[in-house]
Symmetry: C2
Subunit: 224 residues, 2 copies
DNA sequence: AGACCATTCAAGTAGACGTTTGAATGGTCG
DNA sequence: CGACCATTCAAACGTCTACTTGAATGGTCT
C-alpha cells in the first residue's frame, strides 16, 4: 500500500462518512437535538423521541460507537451526553444546510410547527443588545432540568408542562414590558405556545429566533 | 395532525437526516471534498474518486436530489458544483468532528498519508501574518484548473503532475526564502510530496496545515 | 444473598443503499 | 439527418440498517 493509495483513501473517507451517517437517521438526529440541551438517561431519551427503550439504547450506542456521545453511570442509570461541542457544531451546520437547500423542508417544518406568520420574532443580537434594559423580560420555556443546566441570565423559568402558571408569572411583569420567549431552538414548539398565549392576553410577546445551543454557540452569556 | 405531532416531528427530523445521510457514504464524501475545490464534469469526477462514470453520476444525482450540488450544461457535458458555501461548512464540520472524535481516524489517515512526522507544518494565521514579508514563497500544489479558480495571492502554481518542474521554479527562489506549500486540504498528499522534495534539496520548506477551502472559509485573501 | 430495575444484547424481518452491468436518453457536430 | 458522445436510467446483486420482540446482563437496595 503506497502513500496516496486508492484503497486507503476510500477507507479514510468511509471513516469521515461514518460520522455523517451517524447523524443520517431521523431518530438519531432527534437524539442529538435533545442531547444538545443536556444529558439524558436512556429512558428519558426514549420518552423524548417516542421510541422503545431498546431501540433508543441501540441508537445511543451507535452514536457512542463513533465517539459522538459519552456515558456516565449514576446508580443503575446510564446518562448519555454530547462528547464534545463540535458535535453540536456539526449538527447545527447540517440543520442549517437542510433549511437552506432541502426544498421539502419548509413543508415538513410547517407540518410540524404549523404556520408561524402570527408570531413576532427577535434575533439573538437584538436580545443581547437590550438585555441591560429594564423593559424586557426573558422567558425560558424548557423543562426545568434544562433551565438549571444553563439559561440566559435573568430569564424566568416556565416549563412547558406548566404553561398555565403563566398567569401567576404575568402578575410580576409590568404590562409595558416586552416579553421574549425562547426554548430549545428554531424547531421547538414550546416558545410558540407561550407567545401565542401571551399575545392572546394582549401582551407584547415575541419569540427568540434561536434556542439555547445556538445562543451558547454564538457566545451569548449563560447563567447556571 | 395537531401542531407538535409526533409523526410530523419524525418526518421533519427524517428531513434533516437526509442531508446528513447524503454525506454519509464514502464516495459521496470524496465527491464533496473534490467539489469544494471547484466544479467538475461527471467524467472528471469519476477519475478523481476512482469510480465508474455510471456510479459517479448516480452519487452526484443523489447529492443534487437533496439540493447540495447544482449543475450547469456546457456543450454535451454537465458540470457539477457546490450549491452553496454552507455545504462546505457542513462538510468541514463533519470532517473536523471525525478527526476529533473517531478514534480509528488517525490510523486511517496514516494509512493513506503515511507518517508525517518529518514534515514541518505552519498554520494559516502564521502565513497570513507573514505574507507581506519578502522571505517567504507560497507554492500552490494543485491542478492548474484549481489554481485558476482561486489561490493565495502571490502563490506560484506547481501542479502535482509537474512536480519535476520544481527544479526550474527553485532557480527563481532565493536560497534563504522559506517555502510554504499548500494543496487541497489536510488530507491531501500533494503538498507533502513537494515539501519532502524541497527538504531533500536542503530547502526550508513547510506545509500549510490547511488547504484552499479552509483558507477561504477563514476569510483569507484569495486571488483569481 | 435475593429481588428488582435500567440497560443492553441477540435474533429476526422488512426495507434501503452502493455498486455493477447494459441499455436508453438527449445533446452536439459533420 | 445521422453518427457520436457524455450522461442518465433500469434492473439486479449483496450488504447494511431501523425497528420489534424477548431474553440476558450488571448494577442497586432491602
Amino acid at each position: 500500500m503506497a502513500r496516496g493509495d486508492r484503497a486507503s483513501k476510500d477507507a479514510l473517507f468511509d471513516g469521515f462518512a461514518t460520522i455523517a451517517a451517524a447523524l443520517g437517521a431521523g431518530r438519531r438526529a432527534e437524539i442529538v437535538e435533545v442531547l444538545s440541551q443536556g444529558e439524558r438517561t436512556v429512558e428519558e431519551m426514549a420518552g423524548e423521541i417516542g421510541q422503545s427503550v431498546a431501540n433508543t439504547s441501540h441508537h445511543l450506542r451507535a452514536l457512542a460507537r463513533v465517539g459522538l456521545v459519552a456515558t456516565r453511570r449514576e446508580g443503575n442509570r446510564v446518562h448519555y451526553r454530547m462528547a464534545s461541542d463540535r458535535v453540536t457544531d456539526a449538527w447545527l451546520a447540517i440543520r442549517a444546510l437542510a433549511a437552506e437547500r432541502l426544498d421539502t423542508l419548509d413543508d415538513l417544518a410547517e407540518a410540524y410547527l404549523g404556520l408561524r406568520d402570527d408570531l413576532d420574532v427577535v434575533d439573538s443580537q437584538d436580545v443581547q443588545r437590550r438585555m441591560a434594559d429594564r423593559d424586557i423580560v426573558i422567558l425560558d420555556v424548557r423543562p426545568s432540568a434544562e433551565y438549571r443546566a444553563g439559561h440566559i441570565p435573568g430569564a424566568l423559568s416556565v416549563p412547558p408542562d406548566e404553561l398555565h402558571r403563566l398567569d401567576q408569572v404575568l402578575g410580576q411583569i409590568s404590562p409595558d414590558a416586552e416579553i421574549i420567549a425562547y426554548c430549545r431552538g428554531p424547531y421547538c414548539v414550546y416558545a410558540d405556545e407561550a407567545v401565542r398565549w401571551l399575545a392572546s392576553r394582549g401582551r407584547m410577546a415575541r419569540r427568540l429566533s434561536e434556542g439555547m445551543p445556538e445562543w451558547r454557540r454564538a457566545g451569548g452569556p449563560v447563567e447556571v
